[in-house]
Amino acid sequence: MTRSFRGGVHPNDRKNFTAAKAIEVAPLPEKVVIPTRQHIGAPCSPIVKVGDLVKKGQVIAETQAFVSSPVHASISGKVAAIAEYPHPVFGSCSAIIIESDGKDEWVEGLPIKREWQSLESDELKDVIRLAGIVGMGGATFPTHVKMAPPKEKSIDMFILNGAECEPYLTADHRVMLEEADRVVTGMQIVMKALDVKQGYIGIEENKPDAIKVMREAVSGTAIKVVALQTKYPQGAEKTLIKVVADREVPSGGLPMDVGVVVQNVGTVVAVAEAVEKGLPLIERVTTVTGGAIAEPKNLRLRIGTTFAMAIELCGGFKEEPAKLIMGGPMMGMAQCSVDVPVIKGTSGILALSAADINSGDERPCIRCGRCVEACPMGLVPSMLSILGERGMYEAAKEKYDLLDCVECGSCVYTCPAKRNIVHYVKLAKAQNAAAAAKK
């Protein structure tokens, strides 16, 4: 029996564009644009100057703050500029632009060879921090921070998020199929670092091949593969934990409050690379897809490759894109330019045609209740949108649990009145934060 959670929606997943396509290694880019902010938390400052020669894997930006993660050069070459540049999440951010010398050389001392079993928990966490690893599903929260919960929280379970519930995206799917052993190794490392015995891999049923391959790969280990119902947002942390562990993260709480740590597939592979080979996070697998892309693909891209370059590798646009998105269609961020670079959290580059979007004019809420049925968090999304629209931000927070909204977009997807509920939620959250800051 497959387990499920309350609410959710069933969008057409459109994964057939790329699900059967093996990961293709992109050719070495001539130039990369590496923003100094690759993660949630304190930004890094550049430690190289214009004109410096850098090698692949060399640290080029860092900070001493704990909730932060260093940034590495993803190619070898010359620092051509350090300047403000469009950023896929923050709009604009200082970025280090490196021109390739065509040699693609590792910085001295890399790669190395190490047995993960020989390292202690603290050493593992250190390696992960120095390798600049962050959540690669899109949240980009520094991984070492997630792995160092406060003493009073005892963690007893690790869950690998192989749900990949966002439509269109197939990067995690392909990684599980093609690098199952790396996934398992990465998971074992994380479990050792966290000192947990229970490990689960949750995979949606629409990926039966991945379920099969991962089941084979984990045989002989303590890790179990759990088949999950195909339903969005199955891969949201709270719903994933609910289904896999039957634990409910309390309102306002974090997974660690119920003894669980969740990581994304790409992230644990990066952990395995860092621990066993000493390699920092300088590349990732990204699905480049959507109705406007000529030849959708799963690409292994260097961090800093621009969207334009990635799209070019996929044959360019076959029709005018109406929307360009970083991430999936449900929670990804709309972009206004193809010049933005791939960052550590770029799980997908999505160019949607007008037909894919199926938008319509926003109308008043007709109280049909579909959003209430769809909300996995048990909220009343229609009221959040109405209060947000009227500027009643505090009421949205106090009376309708604004802060419990995970912005999954299920409500908006299903709304016949095409209400931009998530837009109002983001607005109301920002206004409440601003009001709190004033006090």
Binding site: K238, G315, C336, L350, I357, C368
Partner: protein, 323 residues
Amino acid sequence: MGEVKIEVGKLSVSASPHIRCDESIAKIMWMVNLALAPAALFSIYRFGLSALYTMVICIVAAIVTEYAIQKWQGKTITVSDGSAFLTGLLLAMNIPSTVPWYMPLFGSAVAIAVAKHTMGGLGFNIFNPALVGRAVLLASWPVAMTTWPTMASKLDGVTSATPLGILKLQGYAKLVEIFGDKMTMYKSLFFGSRSGSMGETAALLLILGGIFLIYRGYINWQVPVVMIGTVGVLTAVFGQDPIMHMMSGGLILGAFFMATDMVTIPITVKGQMVFAAGAGALTVLIRLLGGYPEGVCYAILLMNAVTPLIDLWLKPKKFGARR
């Protein structure tokens, strides 16, 4: 390989999500109209052209009123979304086919202008517009509104009381006597050979239309089941014939098509069940104790009024609420 195109035109940068389902307000409203169509056509067949005229007047008046108001207020014209059409059609289904032309005209205009647009238009109205229209007509022209054509004879102008009317004034024995026996009475009620307002006569077709809406997910089955069930249970408790009550009057029409009007009922399924139970109980109360033989219309309107309270009281269970 030809030239690779990577230039973009203007990109939309609105908030996530970036894809939407195929539903729309217009689709829902037209589906409800479609679900009502068989019963509406049947009433034209049974009551003749006068039913058609009344129906057309109701619908056209509703659409024209909405158009005029939106034009005057400088708002987007939304008459094509099917909701004004639905209000007109529902009002027609709730009145006798024999009323003079100006009554449906007036009722429909009041429904749209007062019940819908003074509240702010679709989505903001508290009361079901068609029912408000009917209530206003009943208060303004009580005689015309309760003079019913007999269907059996199909002759316009021949009138007789509705089954509930007979029950109220002459008693249950007389009612059964008119139909011959109980079985015939049930059959007539179910298949629509009895007098009444246009839409309430063909129980079977209304139920089929309702099942279609349930199947498409536009209404929740709990509403008609709880409302009709409440009427059945309470009338049985009071020693009445529950089967007759469940099939009479506007109950089936009301339970499937008006107590399910999403704008004016609670937003959660739990709340809708409370609403339906309340509407069923009030219906019985009015039928048995009130001055009117029928109470569905007022019962639903009264429950419309408490809908905001029900919504405040019955919110969904929040994820992670237990601490």
